[in-house]
Symmetry: C2
Subunit: 209 residues, 2 copies
């Protein structure tokens, strides 16, 4: 069923489903219905069934879904049955925190390279042992380390420039923490993590609603 267009929201939800399923595994639950899983994720049961239906049939009628099988299948769909190599660009407070953050490694995302424009930082090591390189080493180091995803964690005014370098390397995708829209070539995937926008959303709802 891969040929029909899959909503972006479906992919995001699949990611949430794996989390809920991991909790179920920890609790020794072996089978789950779309109804139960839906409650855990805060979505509609039909939504779950439809999301899964884009990729095949994973359940047993009258029974539900086998938790371990389902999580395996979803992870395979998402491409989480491999390790992904990341590079961090900009190792300020936030960048360092991300590299050290255990959620990434738990999920199979490994930081294998680090870059910063600050001459004082270049050559120094992060707590993980990762050496900080100058930005002009980006192509060389990223290719050598097989970097697939670049994580931009620099001030907004440098973000586009960094993105251009990452596209040139080439890496395959970018996770952008800088509060700015990044232009990238057609087909090149950029995901934004934008907490200012989320805060503004809160501010709006607390003001108006």
């Amino acid at each position: 069923m891969k040929f029909l267009k899959i909503p972006a929201a479906t992919i995001t939800r699949l990611s949430l489903y794996t989390r809920a399923l991991e909790v179920l595994i920890r609790d020794q639950v072996t089978v789950v219905s779309s109804k139960t899983l839906a409650e855990l994720c805060g979505v509609n049961p039909a939504q779950i069934r439809k999301d899964l239906a884009y990729f095949g049939q994973f359940g047993v009628r009258g029974v539900g879904y086998y938790v371990k099988e389902l999580i395996f299948d979803i992870k395979k769909i998402l491409g989480l049955n491999k390790e992904w190599s990341l590079a961090i660009v900009g190792v300020g407070n936030l960048g360092c925190a991300l590299v050290a953050h255990e959620n990434f490694s738990k999920q199979g995302y490994r930081f294998v390279a680090a870059f910063d424009a600050d001459p004082i930082k270049i050559g120094r090591k992060l707590v993980t042992g990762l050496v900080i390189h100058a930005p002009d080493k980006m192509s060389e180091v990223c290719r050598e380390k097989g970097v697939e995803i670049g994580v931009i964690c620099a001030p907004a005014q440098f973000a586009q420039d960094i993105a251009n370098r990452l596209v040139e390397v080439p890496v395959r995708g970018i996770l952008n923490f800088a509060p700015t829209q990044i232009q990238a070539p057609e087909g090149f995937k950029v995901e934004n993590v934008d907490f200012s926008v989320k805060l503004d959303n809160l501010a709006y709802h607390l003001t108006a609603g």
Copy 2:
């Protein structure tokens, strides 16, 4: 026009518009058309006009929008014409990075309280001078400091418990960085900042697309 339902995506875009407008102000641009602004934000021009139309009429036909007026109006809509008081709960690497992050203060978001369950951290001060309190002081300290928004930056397994405390204080909204869905009472606003999910999205697109 406040009585008709406003799409969540509209609010998110308003936030992006302010950013683009701030760049225009820096570049001394005084008037902008929906077409130009749309290009800067990567959206459709009609989308911008429709988004603004939910809240009134801000442009001049045949001319466009006056940049300074428009940014003022949008900020007012979003509730950014005041300062917001935040509390950070969980001052690990990421929590510290957020408190120190200048994007928050630039936008009028101030961290006025900090909490952590680690006994070693309690009583210590962050680089900003903020004292770290024990979680059981949450009600007392938050009320005293007038905290409006709680920022959860603790491991996933503690997030719901922290959220419950924050709801009890009560704060008015929650920004959640923990990778888990938080249950909150009807009408209580929770925004999630979820970089694992964003990475999973990248992984999917790099695998399938």
